[in-house]
């Protein structure tokens, strides 16, 4: 099967929303393309004394609502079109949670698996030297993404500050906490999803207290979903899986014990208080909430008819294929779409930037309270949109975010 160009997909999604919202042609056309694109080369001295030339990109898709915001990817197969598509999605994501930022994305064609720490550092600094003029708290703020780590962010921030000669911690988010990272980032994605699930349950009359949950993908987001689902929503964890298989116990699994087990053994399989299940069987369990938390395309046309969860909270990116999505909607299963359900991460990134800017750092409880507020408002805005246009939550989330960006463009007098 030929792979779809991701940017074409992003444009199609926008086309649908534009039609639904009745956007005028100019606005539609403006939102179909990145506003600014930068493409550059970076010479980097390698450990063996040779110099390699790396290619890099930065796309500022739309900055009508605020400075561009989006990750920086290091990947050997990076293309400008991937970066464009991801920059578009960042625009919609910052808009749906209503934070005053636009959307951007960057990338470097490189393979970090083949680079030493020294080479990575020199590449990170080279990227900043190439982009310093277009970055800044008021222009464009990168963050970690594929194969870029908090350490990379720290080097980049340092290079930027060296160039401009003053402190600007907010130029990059996702930094290590000792140099300006925000507390609460570790569980932000899962926590945001849990808040959205809580609001959705209230809105749709689902009783979660005492209900059950299954977590597909017991990685970082999945583990926190299990812990917080139990703590905040009163859900009982009955199953969890990872790449090696799943563990199941209808009477309930202590999430903290399972996290500990996974940490020691490396997998959930073999957890003493449960039986083994396959990943496929887990997806079909009769539970209140299913959290797909790891991979793309796990709920497909093939298995969607057998999904029995009442609610699917998409913590992973794109866990449900479009065909499966329709089947789940037809079955009346409430799907909380990824770019709403997992927007907690970008929201706390924004909080980091805010704290950096006024140089005063919040306590953890403040981060949680503000995140709750943002996610709760975002859900209700989406839900209202869904009711108004009689569309599902995924479609509604698009409508909310595109409408907000379009409105900002209009108010600025661009269109």
């Amino acid at each position: 099967m030929e792979r779809l160009n991701p940017f074409t997909t992003a444009q199609k999604q926008l086309d649908w929303a534009a039609e639904k919202l009745g956007l005028d042609e100019a606005t539609h056309e403006l939102l179909r393309w990145p506003m600014k694109e930068f493409s550059f080369t970076m010479p980097v001295r390698m450990d063996d004394g040779t110099t390699r030339i790396f290619r890099g990109f930065r796309v500022q898709y739309n900055t009508a609502r605020g400075p561009a915001k989006g990750g920086l990817r290091w990947h050997p197969d990076e293309t400008l079109d991937t970066v464009r598509a991801l920059a578009a999605w960042m625009t919609w994501k910052t808009s749906v949670v209503d934070i005053p930022l636009g959307g951007g994305k960057g990338g470097i064609v490189c393979n970090p698996k083949e680079m030493s720490e020294g080479e990575k550092e020199r590449l990170a600094r080279a990227y900043i030297r190439a982009t310093a003029g277009i970055l800044g708290v008021t222009k464009d703020v990168p963050a970690p993404d594929v194969y870029t780590t908090p350490q990379v962010m720290a080097w980049m921030m340092d290079e930027f500050e060296t160039l401009v000669g003053e402190h600007h911690p907010g130029v990059i988010t996702g930094k290590p906490v000792p140099i300006g990272g925000s507390l609460g980032r570790h569980d932000a994605t899962a926590r945001g999803g849990i808040y959205v699930a809580r609001e959705a349950a209230k809105a749709y009359g689902l009783a979660l207290q005492g209900g059950t949950m299954a977590v597909q993908g017991f990685g970082n987001a999945g583990q926190y979903a299990a812990l917080l689902g139990s703590e905040i929503l009163g859900l009982r964890l009955v199953a969890a899986s990872d790449s090696k298989g799943a563990v199941y116990n209808p009477k309930g699994i202590d999430p903290a014990a399972l996290v500990q087990f996974k940490k020691q053994i490396g997998t959930v399989v073999g957890f003493p208080e449960g039986e083994t299940l396959t990943n496929a069987e887990l997806l079909e369990l009769d539970v209140s909430v299913l959290f797909p938390s790891a991979l793309e395309n796990v709920i497909t046309e093939e298995n969607a008819p057998r999904v029995r969860a009442r609610m699917v909270c998409e913590l992973a990116n794109g866990p449900t294929t479009p065909e499966a999505d329709r089947i789940l909607q037809d079955k009346g299963i409430l799907v909380l779409p990824d770019f709403l359900a997992n927007a907690g991460g970008v929201t706390v990134s924004y909080f980091e930037q805010v704290q950096n800017t006024y140089n005063y750092y919040w306590e953890l409880k403040d981060v949680y309270a503000r995140l709750d507020d943002k996610m709760t408002r975002a859900f209700h805005a989406v839900d209202e949109m869904a009711a108004r246009h009689k569309v599902d939550l995924r479609q509604a989330a698009y409508l909310v975010s595109v409408a907000r960006v379009a409105e900002a463009c209009r108010l600025r007098g661009w269109v």
């Binding site: 450990d47 063996d48 290091w74 393979n111 970090p112 698996k113 083949e114 680079m115 030493s116 720490e117 020294g118 970690p144 194969y147 780590t149 908090p150 350490q151 996702g174 290590p176 906490v177 990272g181 980032r185 570790h186 990685g219 970082n220 790449s243 090696k244 298989g245 940490k263 020691q264 053994i265 490396g266 997998t267 399989v269 073999g270 039986e275 083994t276 396959t278 991979l295």
Partner: protein, 769 residues
């Protein structure tokens, strides 16, 4: 009387004194004068012809017959007179001492080359030689080499390839030091065995006694305190207990060996060492004190060039704490266990496979103080592992094969050499020690070591302990080298030695060790030098503790002779492709496979209890024997040979040794998985036995596995080939390829250069012999 001038008289008195001094060593008089004459000639004081002429003139003058005795007499007198004139008294004494040393050397030379000389006699001669202070002895290189070779082959190893290298590096004085650490039986001679030999030789190659030493190595490289209990002790033990019938054990069938091995343990428990040996063990334990010990097998065949015997014989850790008699009891049982493993099925079958069965294998035991320190109730080295001079684990083309690789673990090295499943040692490409294939925190944590092997000083056993538990005992100064902190996506090693890493956020990365210590550089240097000296790739086991690198073992490594190039045939019809894989370890072509033994991953996963899962390994072993001589491949889920039944089938080398291809079907959905079995004992066995390992990741879009070819109803031959195992039909299928494919055979091509492999059906190749 002019002649009686004072000056002349003093000259004669000097001559007389020299004569007296020489004659006080009547047996050495000749060698002493020979040395004096040599010096006179060397210094140009006299010339050969002048001396000869003088002897002639004197003989004539004195009217003596020109015979040997007279010439000798005159020559001696002349030597004394000229020496008295030319040398100071101190110089004369120096010549006498030199002759004494030479005498010791000739004695040693005579003893080591006397047939039937006992170890005791040799040791005495060796001691006497070495008691003379070091100096430049005018020994001919060939004489010295002869003595070295004789000593090495008496005490260490008489394997020719070993001798050929060892004689260049191991000196007579090195042998003396070794003998001081050797325990033997007065009734039997014996050698220290392969493992001890490999370790000693490697150390001497790296730090030779008489050549300039590398300052890096001199500062950091050491051997653990080692003692050698030679094979005579074991032979004597067998005699003393009348256990000779064990010797024919190796010629029995596998089933009988396995069955009878169960009883050997009881027999050994009852058998005893002679009292003089027990006393010797007791004295030894008094000498080393209460310090943890490891008793390592060091058999004659083990670590023989080309046959690694990876992990075949037993090693025993002893906490060695408590009252002397209690320690003695544990020590004796440890010795018995190591000795007993000579008769275990795995090494016997290994020898059978490698045509080593008729060799009269003898077991020595290398006893070492365990490298490490007590941390709380646990004792372990900070880092241990195994390293290879050739790196076959290259995830990037820039990684240099010739710089080697290492597998590092925290704690005892047992975890580095066994297939431990979900627990991952740190694999290091020594050409790029701070590069790793995992980038995100999630993957770094996932592919890290979580369990640590350590000696529990309270229970006296080796225990596998969680990293958290170990870290709670480890001071930050030690943990600094091994751990990093994980905070969400951020992994960072401690910035300074006093930094506390909370155990619940710690991950083992060895980042500071690899980036801020000379460890990687030293290891690279060591591997390169050893490979040069051996003329062959090597592997070493090591421990790193308190800034010292301890060399524990070194042996030559069996390397697969790679095909220079493999061309996978083009245009194979799609329906004939059975699998394709994209992570290829070696170039290999295995043609005309007749059978595939297929353990169905799904059916295996459905086996609920551990007993059934463990039984699958035994059935595979039985099939392996039934198909001996046939060309077959084994395919199964996950990792063959792992200890963890959830991850793969538990088999030993003897259960798979007749297969030509060993396939691992890994349903792994998280991208590239490091091949963690590189360098384990199990993997070494595959390489040596020329079994081609193939890993297939069916979830990877670039790969493919045609499951239905094997699961199609009615094609399995299990009930024909192993009728007694027919009930396993659901889980294990044996497919005869030509029957299932209408006359085609399975061809397996692996191209490491292009990282592409394929198994496909094709007519039988005629080229195969």
């Amino acid at each position: 009387m002019n002649e009686l001038s004072l000056e002349n008289l003093i000259g004669w008195i000097r001559t007389y004194r020299i004569y007296r001094r020489i004659m006080s060593h009547p047996k050495l008089a000749q060698p002493i004068r020979a040395l004096l004459r040599r010096s006179l000639l060397d210094r140009g004081i006299v010339s050969e012809s002048w001396f000869e002429r003088l002897v002639d003139d004197a003989a004539r003058n004195l009217n003596l017959a020109d015979d040997f005795d007279h010439r000798q007499e005159i020559s001696d007198a002349l030597t004394d007179i000229v020496a008295a004139h030319a040398f100071s008294e101190e110089e004369i004494r120096e010549h006498i001492r030199l002759a004494q040393r030479m005498e010791k050397f000739f004695l040693l030379n005579r003893v080591v080359n006397t047939e039937g000389a006992t170890s005791k006699q040799i040791k005495k001669a060796l001691k006497e030689f070495c008691a003379v202070p070091e100096g430049n002895l005018p020994i001919s290189p060939s004489d010295a080499e002869g003595v070295r070779v004789a000593l090495i082959s008496h005490f260490i190893s008489s394997q020719l390839p070993f001798l050929g290298i060892a004689k260049k590096y191991i000196t007579i004085r090195d042998m003396d030091e070794m003998v001081d650490h050797t325990y033997w039986n007065p009734r039997r001679s014996g050698k220290v065995g392969g493992k001890a030999a490999g370790m000693l030789l490697a150390y001497k190659i790296l730090l030779p006694r008489f050549s300039p030493k590398d300052p890096d190595l001199e500062q950091s490289l050491c051997l653990p305190e080692s003692y050698y209990f030679n094979s005579g002790i074991f032979s004597d033990f067998i005699d003393y207990n009348n256990l000779h019938w064990f010797h024919s054990q190796k010629y029995k069938t596998r089933e009988v060996i396995e069955e009878e091995y169960k009883h050997i343990s009881e027999l050994f428990a009852r058998a005893s060492f002679p009292p003089d040996m027990v006393n010797m063990f007791r004295r030894f334990l008094e000498r080393v004190g209460e310090y943890p010990l490891i008793l390592r097998s060091s058999s004659l065949l083990e670590d023989n060039f080309g046959h690694a015997f990876s992990g075949k014989y037993e090693s025993v850790f002893l906490a060695n704490r408590g009252p002397l008699e209690q320690r003695l009891e544990a020590f004796i049982w440890g010795l018995k266990r190591v000795h007993m493993s000579t008769y275990a099925p795995a090494p016997i079958l290994y020898r059978r496979d490698h045509n080593l069965l008729d060799f009269d294998e003898k077991m020595s035991v290398l006893v070492q103080k365990v490298v490490g320190a007590p941390y709380g109730k646990y004792f372990f080295p900070l880092v241990s592992g195994v390293a290879f001079s050739r790196n076959t684990y290259r995830w990037s083309p820039k990684i240099r094969e010739e710089d080697g690789m290492a597998r590092l673990v925290l704690g005892l090295g047992t975890r580095a050499v066994e297939r431990v499943g979900q627990d991952y040692p740190r694999l290091v490409a020594l050409s790029h020690p701070d590069m790793r294939p995992e980038v995100s925190a999630r993957h770094i944590v996932k592919y890290s070591q979580r369990l640590v092997d350590a000696i529990n000083l309270e229970t006296g056993r080796v225990e596998t302990v969680s990293l958290g538990d170990i870290l709670s005992h480890l001071p930050p100064q030690a943990a600094y080298w091994a751990v990093s902190t994980v905070e969400g996506d951020h992994v960072s090693p401690p910035p300074f030695k006093g930094q506390l890493v909370p155990p619940d956020r710690a991950v083992l990365t060895f980042d500071n060790l690899l980036r801020r210590s000379p460890f990687a550089r030293l290891l690279r240097k060591i591997l390169r030098r050893l490979e040069q000296a051996y003329g062959h790739p090597v592997d070493v086991e090591f421990a790193w503790h308190e800034d010292k690198l301890f060399l524990l073992q070194c042996r030559t490594l069996s390397v697969r002779e790679e095909l220079a190039q493999v061309e996978i045939p083009q245009n194979i019809p799609e329906q004939h492709v059975i699998f394709s894989n994209s992570k290829v370890l070696f170039n290999a072509v295995v043609s005309d496979l007749e059978y595939v033994v297929y353990v169905d991953p799904k059916a295996y996963g459905r086996l609920g209890d551990e007993t059934s899962k463990a039984a699958v390994g035994r059935v595979v072993g039985r099939i392996n024997r039934a198909l001996e001589g046939k060309r077959f491949a084994l395919f199964g889920p996950g990792r063959w040979g792992t200890n963890d039944l959830h991850l793969g089938i538990r088999v030993g080398y003897e259960d798979i040794n007749h297969a030509l291809v060993l396939g691992e079907i890994a349903h792994e959905s998280e991208g590239v998985t490091p091949e963690v079995s590189f360098g384990t004992h199990f993997f070494n066995d595959l390489v040596e036995a020329r079994i081609v390992p193939v890993a297939v990741f069916p979830d990877d879009p670039q790969e493919f596995f045609k499951e239905e070819f094997f699961t199609a109803a009615g094609c399995s031959r299990l009930s024909e080939i192993c009728p007694e195992e027919a009930r396993w039909e659901e889980v294990i299928k044996i497919v005869r390829i030509p029957d299932a494919s209408g006359g085609l055979w399975l061809q397996v091509y692996q191209d490491a250069h292009r990282q592409k492999g394929m198994g496909f059906l094709a007519p039988q190749r005629s080229s195969r012999g």
